[in-house]
């Protein structure tokens, strides 16, 4: 099974109206080349799920500046003024979610849970409109799972079957997002033969990855 696709093919898979999860934390561990190609493609009306919107000139922040999102679900937008502006004017529907809750909602979406009870946000506006459940005299918010049409993830080393190793702090949301989307595309910084990644270091199994964009080839082109 050949999973490598060109950047053009990758871009053609992202269509208006889709929801996309994008890995990365302040753009560290974001599949930056795919994001750049999406900026160029100018596809609009997307829903973004990403822990932050980076800055105006980094990661998904560039797509915010390019007004490609009609909805954004994130935990932090403070370092990208354009996101704040779009929130204030109402141009974009921005939903803020505590970061741990966001991670857990994505994990729940990817692992078949119907939701989970978290103490995070109790007594704050985060609990508004949500079911509160008491367990052993403690109050928890019932938070629901989150999934997306597409996950765009970053891979430090990817093998040709699609196994992914994501090094150091580039891992962040990438590995859990790979569980929670119908279509998973990985940007491979380095592509190796199957069997070259230590099975202890595989962070996304090959069967979850639909397509690989091989940057070693694209950078040569």
């Amino acid at each position: 099974m050949i999973k490598t696709i060109s950047m053009n093919e990758c871009v053609s898979l992202i269509k208006p109206g889709m929801s996309i999860m994008v890995g990365g934390f302040m753009a560290v561990g974001t599949p930056e080349h795919i994001v750049n190609a999406l900026v160029k493609s100018d596809v609009k009306d997307l829903t973004l799920i990403c822990t932050d919107t980076a800055t105006e000139c980094n990661g998904v922040g560039k797509m915010v500046v390019n007004k490609q999102f009609s909805k954004i679900i994130a935990s932090h937008i403070g370092l990208n003024r354009e996101t704040g502006r779009q929130l204030t004017t109402g141009e974009t529907d921005v939903q803020l979610v505590p970061q741990g809750t966001l991670a857990e909602r994505i994990r729940a979406g990817g692992t078949g849970l119907g939701g989970f009870l978290t103490p995070t946000g109790i007594g704050t506006i985060v609990e508004e409109g949500k079911q509160i459940i008491e367990v052993n005299d403690n109050k928890y918010i019932l938070e629901l799972p989150l999934r997306a049409d597409v996950a765009l993830i970053y891979g430090s080393i990817v093998d040709k079957a699609g196994n992914v190793f994501i090094q150091k702090t580039t891992r962040n949301f990438n590995s859990i997002m790979a569980l929670a989307a119908d279509l998973v595309i990985v940007e491979a910084t380095k592509l190796v033969e199957v069997g070259e990644i230590d099975p202890h270091l595989v962070m996304v199994p090959s069967t979850l990855v639909d397509y690989i964009v091989d940057m070693t080839v694209l950078e040569v082109e």
Binding site: L102, T124, V126
Partner: protein, 213 residues
């Protein structure tokens, strides 16, 4: 060094004394980050960075940055021997699960009921809560490290006015003037620092507090 920087250094030095050997510690962005510089020699702690590592080390020398190791502000950092990388769900599992012994955060407002507001000013600034709500709820001990007032207005209030980040979550407040602790749920002044006077603390604090110096 500016006057403000001096005050922040005083606060950071005092916070550092709260960190004990073997602790897992999470430092917020800004003033709290300074705390790492004043850790006593004989105290070994591991700094947790919610973006995905334990064992946050000092910033690398210029030219030696590794773009794949960053802190929660996205700045290049290093990892110390005995550190660990993990994904965001594990990271917040550690945080929410009470495995972070101390977290140090800044605040816009703190009140008598240990409530804290530090994530938004309606109509003005909505950066998002990031990991703050989880840290406040999950860490074993929450230390608020901040300047005592903002533009001469008290920040330690009877009741927070801004949208809360967490309810009843704060354990200790350390400012350039003093240290407050919540003892049996009551805001208690336990220490004056930097030659400050009780009267000054009273003037600059709106909240009622018990004095146990």
């Amino acid at each position: 060094m500016s006057r403000n920087s001096e005050l922040k250094e005083i606060i950071a030095r005092r916070v550092a004394k709260e960190l004990k050997d073997g602790y897992m510690v999470n430092l917020g962005i800004g003033l709290p980050t300074l705390v790492a510089n004043y850790l006593p020699e004989d105290v070994d702690v591991l700094f947790q960075s919610e973006n995905g590592m334990l064992g946050l080390g000092p910033a690398p020398e210029e030219g030696f940055e590794d773009k794949d190791i960053s802190n929660a502000g996205g700045q290049p950092v290093t990892i110390v021997p005995g550190g660990m990388y993990f994904d965001s769900s594990y990271s917040f599992g550690l945080i929410r699960g009470g495995h972070v012994d101390v977290t140090v955060l800044g605040a816009l407002e703190v009140d008598e009921k240990a409530n804290i507001a530090n994530w938004m000013i309606p109509g003005k600034m909505v950066p998002g809560m990031g990991g703050a709500m989880d840290l406040l709820v999950g860490a074993k001990k929450v230390i608020v490290a901040m300047l005592h007032t903002a533009k001469d207005r008290p920040k330690i209030l009877k009741v927070c006015h801004l949208p809360l980040t967490a309810v009843g979550a704060v354990n200790m407040i350390i400012t350039e003037l003093c240290v407050f602790e919540y003892i049996d749920g009551k805001l208690t002044l336990i220490e004056l620092i930097n030659d400050s006077k009780l009267e000054e603390v009273r003037t600059k604090t709106e909240a009622e507090f018990i004095v146990k110096l």
